[in-house]
């Protein structure tokens, strides 16, 4: 694959998804970049902003198999991974795979399920396999989890533990669309658009293409100067006085991987600080824990990350 081919395929994917999801370009590009970086995505936003629709549309245009799990308080881990069922006829236990055996898994409202159920995703997200009854079963390739959560409600929710949060490559926040965009959305629906019917959306690629793009992105050159810049940014989260718990080295790796995808989408074979900067906030915002006093003052993780970006010098020659 050449840089031009990658960039062309990326543009086509973004354009095709953009036909369905209007006015959420950062969400589309963040989601696509993360999936191509072999990462998982956590999307946070109020209801009705297209979080579920964007994941479904991505699955359709990429030709990947898609499964959706609605997380509820009574959801069990086996409802996700699958379980062995005894078949009387054959007198054997037969494994019935759960919905996790899909290339793109949508975990809707992941914070509604208890921690025990959430942890069922841990092994899948990390190792891309599930172990049921002592048997490890690999998940299909490519595999990505797109989880959504609603920031408004706090009653009856179970905040994701840090260990699981850290396994999401990025956390994307979805805001309200602009007036013009909202008018366009309503017009689409007035013209007969049905969110549940994506038959008009064309599959641009197939899973093999996605895998090839993922493999190509990993080969994008990342100069030492850029690596140092990434590490500097992440390390600053650990020394920031408003942040009680900074980002781990996994954040540095994640930032580099997604920057590689961004560079490839621009048709370049190397990463520049311009590819790193836009993804710093999505990669770090869910990996840092603010000091309680800072939270009381109304400081958000994004505020501190923005400040860190402003203070970190961009690498230059000479």
């Amino acid at each position: 694959m050449t840089p031009e081919q990658f960039a062309s395929a990326y543009e086509r994917l973004v354009a095709e998804i953009g036909r369905v999801i209007v006015g959420q370009q950062p969400l589309i590009e963040g989601l696509l970049a993360s999936v191509l970086a072999k990462g998982h995505v956590l999307i946070e936003g109020a209801p009705g902003l297209g979080k579920t629709l964007v994941a479904r549309t991505l699955a359709v245009v990429s030709g990947c198999s898609f499964k959706r799990i609605q997380f509820t308080p009574d959801l069990m881990p086996s409802d996700i991974t699958g379980s062995s069922v005894f078949e009387r006829q054959s007198a054997q236990f037969t494994f019935i795979p759960g919905p996790i055996f899909a290339q793109l898994l949508l975990a809707d409202e992941i914070n509604r399920a208890p921690a025990k159920t959430q942890s069922a995703l841990l092994e899948a997200m990390q190792d891309r396999q599930v172990t049921v009854d002592g048997v490890s079963r690999p998940l299909p390739q490519p595999f990505a989890v797109v989880a959504t959560q609603n920031p408004v409600e706090s009653q009856g929710t179970y905040p994701l533990p840090e260990a699981q949060l850290d396994r999401f490559l990025v956390k994307l926040t979805v805001g309200d669309p602009s007036r013009e965009m909202e008018q366009t959305i309503v017009r689409h629906h007035a013209d007969g658009f049905e969110p549940s019917d994506l038959s008009a959306v064309r599959p641009i690629l197939n899973p093999e293409h996605i895998t090839a793009m993922q493999d190509y992105a990993q080969k994008i050159r990342c100069d030492d100067a850029v690596v140092n810049y990434i590490v500097d940014l992440v390390r600053r989260t650990r020394s920031d006085r408003a942040i009680e718990l900074g980002a781990s080295p996994r954040a540095s790796i994640s930032l580099m991987k997604v920057a590689q995808v961004i560079a490839a989408s621009q048709g370049r074979a190397f990463v520049t600080p311009d590819d790193v900067k836009p993804m710093v906030a999505p990669v770090l915002r869910h990996r840092v824990m603010l000091h309680p006093d800072a939270e009381l003052q109304g400081i958000t993780a994004d505020d501190r990350i923005t400040e860190i970006i402003r203070e970190a010098p961009v690498p230059r020659l000479g």
Partner: protein, 633 residues
């Protein structure tokens, strides 16, 4: 002694002999004709063989002389061709030089207006950029008033080397380029370009800005495009491991130079404004003597006669008044080509009256003299005798088609009475006259026919010209240029108005005034009130505590805290067991007596006990117990 005196006398006499006293030798008209024939034969002037094409307006008027001029076949042919064209209406005739000239004049006007607009933009843009940059820098500067409770100490990172002066960086980059270190060169060129744009307020340098951000922050598309091209090369070199070639580095250097040193339009503008020059068409150089209406032959013929002749290199309005013991020069003016304004006219009269000699052809009017040339008529034979000559053999006859319609002096149409000398045709048409005015003279002629190249090519005309000029033979002769008739502007405003830019000047002043008013109004508008910083709970509590302490209301504070604890803990305690000290002791595993003592003290304060000085300590202890109690929930 006498010998010494004699030698000195001889030296002085010799010096007098060789010194030019201004007293030239008498002009010899006969020699002039021979000289004229000789130069025409030599082809020194090209108006005979190859006149300037197209013929000027004046040259066309001299076409009747073409037949009489000797050796001027080229001029004859040009006149014949012109006559043919005028005779036959030609639908497909190319545009005449007049229409081309008018089009060019219109074009020049448009260009001048564009130059004015560009000048306005060039003046106002830096002002606007400077104001925007000042405002941007003010926004970015760390506000000292924000003091969050969490004192986030900003890391004092190693001082990022300031990018520095753009020209210095360009020099360093050029050195690197010469050395062959293209990687360093392109990076320095990029830094120079950024520094230059920062100085112009187009972008802002910051240590956290990437190359792409610098590019995207440029609003001007041409600047953005040039900077982007440099940034791409730098990124490839710095992060892609791709070293630039010499050609690429050279291309980067050109772009960086253009970005640092401003727009080439400024150079073009300067060239436009500074390139136009008044005078005798120095930009549009016409080959020597190609214009039949030119003065080259006149100048040369008079020089050979010993006359100190040249172009007047000053304005007529600035001619120095002739002093008592001085002999002023003779000034030749052709009013058809050298328009004279009123101010200049008045000064000329004063100059003549002081002793100047004015040779004027064409219409001319002063308080005392009015010269009005007549229309072209059939030929008149004029006889001119040189000055100081009574010999009829010296008289020169020549044929002219222009005569003076009227010369009035002192409102009295009496040329003969006023003139020293007058020349008439056989049919008593007046050709010209030498009219004394004050201490000077005016030699009034109907046209400059005898002073043009074509006119002097006609046999006998050269003699006539010299014979006329002999009346001013003891003076230097200066010929007025086209622009000499306009008094020089006394200030830049006048020159702009004369150039027809008066309206543009008014527009410019109005635009500047409007701009300053707009910005002044905007800057003087009251700033929106600053957003109130959210005070943290801790700050509020500390402030309240300080107030209580200053007013010695510790007991009141303790009582309020006791009330707070009562409410909060009662909400947590199960019914039937509302004993706060016991609850606190149970939750925190503190001594029950300790909790009881503290609670008792708090209740005393709540019931109005006076300050004892231990209120703050009690509050702290109760707060510790409360925090510990709720944390175990």
């Amino acid at each position: 002694m006498s010998r010494r005196f004699g030698i000195l006398f001889c030296i002085v006499m010799a010096a007098f002999a060789f010194t030019k006293t201004g007293q030239a030798a008498p002009l010899v008209p006969s020699r002039a004709e021979a000289d004229a024939r000789e130069v025409i034969r030599q082809g020194k002037y090209s108006f005979c063989k190859e006149p300037s094409s197209p013929l000027s307006q004046r040259a066309r008027q001299l076409c009747p002389l073409a037949e009489k001029a000797e050796g001027c076949e080229g001029f004859k042919t040009a006149c014949a061709t012109l006559k043919e064209k005028e005779r036959l209406p030609n639908i497909d005739a190319p545009k005449s030089s007049a229409s081309i000239a008018s089009f060019l004049a219109y074009l020049v006007k448009v260009v001048m207006w564009l130059a004015i607009i560009a000048l306005i933009v060039a003046i106002t843009l830096p002002i606007v950029y400077a104001i925007l940059k000042w405002r941007r820098d003010r926004e970015v500067s760390d506000p000292a008033e924000k003091k969050p409770a969490i004192q986030v100490e900003e890391e004092v990172a190693e001082a990022e080397p300031v990018i520095g002066d753009a020209e210095l960086l360009l020099q360093r980059a050029a050195q690197m380029l010469e050395r062959g270190d293209f990687v360093a060169a392109v990076q320095l060129y990029f830094q120079a370009a950024v520094a230059g744009l920062d100085q112009r307020g187009i972008l802002r340098i910051a240590k956290d800005r990437t190359n792409g951000e610098y590019v995207r922050s440029c609003q001007d598309l041409s600047v953005r495009s040039a900077l982007r091209e440099i940034a791409v090369v730098v990124d490839k070199a710095q992060f892609g491991g791709e070293k630039p070639t010499a050609e690429t580095a050279g291309s980067v250097s050109k772009r960086a130079l253009a970005l640092v040193r401003g727009l080439p339009l400024m150079i073009l503008l300067l060239a436009l404004l500074g390139g136009c020059k008044q005078g005798e068409g120095k930009l549009l150089k016409i080959p020597n003597g190609a214009d039949p209406a030119g003065r080259e032959m006149m100048l040369d013929l008079l020089k050979t006669q010993g006359v100190n002749v040249g172009w007047l290199e000053r304005s007529l309005a600035s001619l120095p008044i002739v002093k008592e013991d001085e002999t002023g020069p003779a000034i030749f003016i052709d009013t058809d080509t050298t328009p004279v304004d009123e101010e200049t006219n008045a000064h000329l009269v004063r100059w003549v009256e002081s002793g100047g000699f004015l040779i004027v052809s064409g219409a001319f009017a002063t308080e005392n003299l009015t010269l009005r040339p007549g229309q072209l008529t059939s030929g008149h034979v004029i006889t001119i005798r040189p000055a100081d000559s009574d010999d009829s053999d010296d008289a020169v006859q020549f044929e002219t088609t222009t005569v003076i319609d009227a010369v009035t002096v002192d409102a009295t149409p009496a040329v003969e009475r006023s003139a020293k000398v007058a020349w008439f045709s056989s049919d008593e048409a007046t050709y010209g006259a030498l009219i004394p005015i004050g201490k000077g003279n005016v030699l009034a002629l109907p046209s400059d026919e005898l002073f043009t190249n074509a006119g002097l090519a006609v046999p006998a005309n050269a003699r006539a010209m010299v014979a006329l000029m002999s009346h001013a033979h003891d003076r230097d002769l200066k010929i007025a240029a086209r622009s000499s008739g306009i008094a020089p502007p006394s200030n830049p405003m006048t020159s702009l108005i004369r150039a027809g830019l008066g309206l543009g000047l008014i527009h410019l002043l109005f635009a500047i005034a409007l701009l300053f008013w707009a910005f002044g109004r905007r800057l003087s508008a009251p700033l929106p009130p600053p957003v109130e910083a959210r005070r943290s709970i801790r700050e509020n509590v500390e402030a309240t505590g300080s107030l209580y302490a200053r007013r010695r209301l510790g007991a009141h504070a303790l009582g309020a805290y006791a009330r707070f604890l009562d409410e909060r803990l009662r909400a947590r305690i199960l019914r039937g067991n509302v004993n706060i000290p016991t609850y606190l002791a149970a939750r925190t595993r503190a001594e029950p007596e300790y909790c009881e003592r503290l609670w008792h003290r708090a209740k005393e304060a709540q019931n109005g006990a006076p300050d004892r000085g231990d209120e703050l300590q009690v509050i702290r202890q109760l707060a510790a117990l409360y925090t510990a109690a709720i944390s175990t929930d």
